[in-house]
Amino acid sequence: MRRFLRPGHDPVRERLKRDLFQFNKTVEHGFPHQPSALGYSPFLRLMAIGTRSGAIKLYGAPGVEFMGLHEENNTVMQIHFIPDQCRLVTLLDDNSLHLWSLKQHGGTSELREEHRFTLKGPPGSPPSATQVTAVLPHSSREVLYLGTESGNIFVVELPSFRVLEDRTITPEAVLQRIPEDNCNRRSCELVEALQEHPKNPDQILIGYSRGLIVLWDLQNNKATHHFLGSQQLENLYWQRDGSKFISCHYDGSYSQWPVSSDNSQSEPLENTVPYGPFPCKAISKIYWQTTKNGLPYIIFQGGMPRASYGDRHSISVIHGSQQTAFDFTSRVIDFFIIFSSDPAAEFDDPSALVVLAEEELVVIDLKSAGWPAVHPPYLASLHCSAITCSHHVSNIPLKLWERIISAGSKQNIHYSSMPWPIDGGTNIAPDPPQRDLLLTGHEDGTVRFWDASGVCLHLLYKLSTVRVFLTDADPNDNMNTLGEEEWPPLRKVGTFDPYSDDPRLGIQKIYLCKYSGYLAVAGTAGQVLVMELNDEDAEHVVDHAEADLLQDQEGYRWKGHEKLKTRDGPVRFEAGFQPFVLVQCQPPAVVTSLALHSEWKLVAFGTSHGFGLFDHQQKRLVFVKCTLHPSDQLALEGPLSRVKSLKKSLRQSFRRIRRSRVSSRKRRGGGGNASEVQEANAKFDQDVLQEMELAPVQRKIEARSAEDSFTGFVRTLYFADTFLRDSSRHCPSLWAGTNGGTVYAFCLRVPPAERRMDEPVRAEQAKEIQLMHRAPVVGILVLDGRSTPLPEPLEVAHDLSKSPDMQGSHQLLVVSEEQFKVFTLPKVSSKLKLKLTALEGCRVRKVTVANFGSCKTDDYSENDLAVLTNLGDIQIISLPFLKLQIRYPCIRKEDVSGIASCVFTKYGQGFYLISPSEFERFSLSTKWLVEPRCIVDMPEVTSNNHVHKPGTENTARKS
């Protein structure tokens, strides 16, 4: 650091730096990792999700988001909103209760923790005595009822969490009032459910785990009614008018119980096992919703026949003769129903079912026929198939934006048109400054286009490359086409599908030209697809070309996966990006770099064997260059065989050890020669084992050499119009950088537009630079005469960039993992460098040119390099003088996948995965800052709010 602080400490520059750079983590996009609890407030119309890492996230109308984190990082077990307040209570798995509140501060609302509390029993009592199992926030807003494992129900005052000991409802007190022979102390163990009477706040319904249900009068401190279920109780639900309640049980049954004033004990009106008669799994939660037409909606979780469907995660909706079991691909955490919240309304009239599954949020529209799903504006399951790469494009032209949205809307016709039902709070953030696209490539061969302009990461369009290829899975095989008579009536919902048909389909590199609508996508099996945006469905043949990257190398055998088989004949593509040419690399190794020049109509691609250039206008391969070092066997064999061979060699060496032990016992004192061999073998095995044992803790120190593995791996490709041969004429050029620190430059001759189809594109190698430190080249950039990075293709043609300065001399910036180096062009001489690894021990993982604008003046902006290192630090390095400006710790260095997933935008923002399903958004710029700014106002509390509906705030859930 010394060097950056001492000399050249220029106060003007320091001030400017403060106006330009600022680090903020602004918002988390996507679906929370490992959700564990769900809550909903019909009063605020906000939903809360808790996670296993102790995070709590609130969502309302699109753009309204709050996040809080419990200090303890413990699993959130339950979330309960306090009726008619901007407050909520969370229960963690360490049995602590936390009170959170939304308070307005500086014009926006903020979520803050107010109090924490852990229930303490009398000295000497077992921990189970105070283990909270059920929480009931009373509609008086003054107390919380806490049901415990011991059967005691404690009453605590809000917001102080003071225990009102005299009001504790003990099992003894309950049993006193029940003159029963078959009720004993054990009937009152573990409070499973607590529900307030919908009309009478002085009565609460207590459900004990063993089946006993008691209606307790708070005024007189006595049980007015008791109900004895024969099955283990799971949950309870009041009907809206308070005349009946419903209980659900461990054996997959539910019962309806009448509550009348005349009798204090009753038999169930109805006892049903919906998926009987064979043994069923538990129904863990149930809703009974009344409607105007008299037919109730019965909605419950679980209850499937144990033997055949016991592994399904289902929620069933029964409405008259209609019955559907929504089948989720991941475990259901919890669900709630959105229904009429007007206390005066006579009926529930449910409108939507909101289900939190482990990997996604699914909302079902209960008002429309067929119960279609609602497209969520946030909480997108980014990982519905694992993310394999991402690509960000800033400032999308409106035309392209609209075309992508229109292509996407055609894919979403099966979604409900219902407006998003969770719409609390107001988004007061300014409109996003520009339209940004985030493209994610997935393992299943799809590319998803996300609207990344604002706080809500919203899916615009999904592109699948699968149709080009023949795969084992029949694309017409649809899980939803079950016959009418099928029982149970399962219907698959949601988009989370972690299973890829074929890992070779995985997308590895994406490049979108926002001006021309050309998209290049490259995958795991060496496939490179070039696509064009078409607003109509079309059926056409995809042209094929092979690029043999090993052309001059003889005697090598690729032991990795085979290339994907392609479909013969014309293929039907839906509106959107449609592939028109497929370039297949041979050997079909993972494509490691990709570049597209839409103006020259050229696409360049690289693998671990070499790189090639393809003319997608003439559909002709221009050239290939093998970068493989002859001794590099690993690159040839492919990644799969590498794993295999390691396993194999381990297995063999163990076998050898065993064999040598056996044989030495058998042939003790045998021939001298044989025993020598054995000894040597044993010694070798020992060495192998020793090395294995030492491997995790020691590191080899060795200079890199040309013979190292994967030196030919092409890390970066770059098109530039620059001075490659002499300083008087500039020409198109292609630059490639490898893992072994080599940079190749090819001079390209692209025919003028009028003869573009007649003359071939020619390429000739002009330069090859070998960096002596041999670190992998991760970025190549040409700076023009004003030291500004060359503009993107077509940027100048669209008047969005100044044309580059072709008068002054150009400079070449080569970024390796260890150093930044500037060379002059056309004669390559080294001009400047910045060493990173040698001085700080960190390596460059990602590097991008970003434009930073000053927050003070509109007319100042500059280009700098945004760099992410393997230690998770972000550094900003000035151009063209390569001076470190500022450094921020961003990602934990242990979070390898987070670092690998990071993508920078052109305006100093970035994204990285904090879990398989969530992107963290960060900003390095003072000017471009996308973060939630929202406000939650207390709705007017209606006068008759004491006549309250239960079960809405109390999405009680057993642990």
């Binding site: 010394r2 060097r3 950056f4 001492r6 000399p7 050249g8 030492l694 803790v697 020691q698 590191r699 080899k700 120190i701 060795e702 200079a703 890199r704 041969r725 190698q765 002009a766 330069k767 090859e768 630079i769 070998q770 960096l771 002596m772 430190h773 670190a775 260890e818 180096k821 060379f823 002059t824 390559v828 001489s829 080294s830 001009k831 400047l832 460098k833 910045l834 060493k835 690894t837 040698a838 001085l839 700080e840 021990g841 960190c842 390596r843 393997n870 230690l871 003088f881 001076k883 260095k893």
Partner: protein, 347 residues
């Protein structure tokens, strides 16, 4: 040309007198020469001051074989490029003016045919328990050949003895550079890599730093075996001439020069192949003539030079009478401005 003459062993006199005698004997009164002698081990060692002159005379048994060489030949045929040598001399000159009062261009070094593979450096400024070892990777195909591991060492802190994590040498590959020097051993604790402390850094980080510096690796270790430490004579501290073991006589006097040279070499060796022609080393760019640009380059130089120095070297700087800025303020009259700029772009 051979000459044989006698000296009185008990009264050898001053080096300058001896030098004059040599010039006289060879009838080359105005030619600058390098003087060397062979010691008892058969190594060629330089004679350029009173101390080593006395040493040479005292070791004569009974003959002292002296080699003299024309300065120009030795200088320019031996060392790579012109600028490099000049710069080195200039720097060492600045740092140790007393050593070079008379002959600023003298090269104190082994003949170039022998490339050093390793050296102990900075003995005069390091604690005796530490050893700073430089491994010269360039020019050999020998692997560096060692491994490092995590470990813990006991330190004396204000709170008493404390166990702190450290990085240790875990293995030496037989036949590797590290082993062949005999200066590094298993369980030596690594304290610094090229002047940067490793404490607080992870094993992977230190690995990356070592590999990034592998062409010119300087490791400061606390040897596990503390019995072979160089025992410093307090009388001679400050003079680096006596710092090394007898087998490494000549490397210390120009640490800084050789460090810089190493920097140079490890950095500027990038190779360019133009139009599939012959590989060439990439030259350094000549500075732009505009004053503004060259100003900024000087600023850059300033930073990076300071950064390029090891902390120890900076201590040297402080000890020496001049400061580094002298180099810029008072360039030698004979140097052309272009060469000066040549140094400036050393980044």
């Amino acid at each position: 040309e051979f000459r044989r003459f006698s000296l009185e062993r008990s009264k050898p006199g001053k080096f300058e007198e001896f030098y004059g005698l040599l010039q006289h004997v060879h009838k080359i009164p105005n030619v600058d020469v390098l003087v060397g002698y062979t010691d008892i081990h058969g190594d060629l060692l330089p004679i350029n001051n009173d101390d080593n002159y006395h040493k040479a005379v005292s070791t004569a048994n009974p003959l002292l074989r002296i080699f003299i060489q024309r300065k120009e030949d030795a200088d320019y045929s031996a060392f790579g490029t012109d600028t490099m040598t000049r710069k080195k001399n200039v720097l060492s000159n600045v740092l140790r003016p007393d050593n070079h009062k008379k002959k600023p261009h003298i090269v104190i070094s082994m003949p170039q045919d022998f490339r050093p593979v390793s050296s102990i450096i900075d003995v005069d400024i390091l604690p005796e328990t530490h050893r700073r070892v430089r491994l010269y990777k360039y020019g050999t195909d020998k692997p560096l050949g060692f491994y490092i591991r995590d470990g813990s060492s006991v330190r004396v802190t204000p709170h008493g003895l404390e166990k702190v994590p450290g990085i240790f040498i875990s293995r030496l590959v037989p036949g590797g550079l590290a082993q062949s020097t005999g200066l590094l051993a298993v369980n030596d604790e690594v304290l610094e890599v090229n002047g940067i402390e490793v404490s607080g850094k992870s094993l992977d980080q230190v690995t990356d730093m070592m590999i990034a510096n592998s062409r010119n690796l300087i490791i400061t270790v606390r040897p596990a075996n503390q019995r072979n430490n160089v025992v410093r004579n307090s009388r001679t501290s400050g003079s680096s001439g006596q710092s090394t073991e007898s087998s490494l006589p000549s490397s210390t006097p120009n640490i800084l020069g050789s460090l810089l040279q190493g920097e140079e070499e490890s950095d500027e060796e990038d190779i360019i192949i133009e139009d599939s022609g012959e590989p060439q080393q990439i030259p350094k760019a000549t500075p732009a003539s505009e004053s503004i640009e060259s100003l900024s380059q000087i600023e850059l130089l300033h930073e990076s030079t300071q950064n390029g120095f090891l902390p120890s070297s900076e201590m040297n700087l402080n000890q020496s009478t001049g400061s580094i800025s002298m180099e810029y303020e008072a360039p030698e009259p004979g140097r052309k401005s272009l060469e000066e700029d040549g140094t400036i772009i050393t980044l």
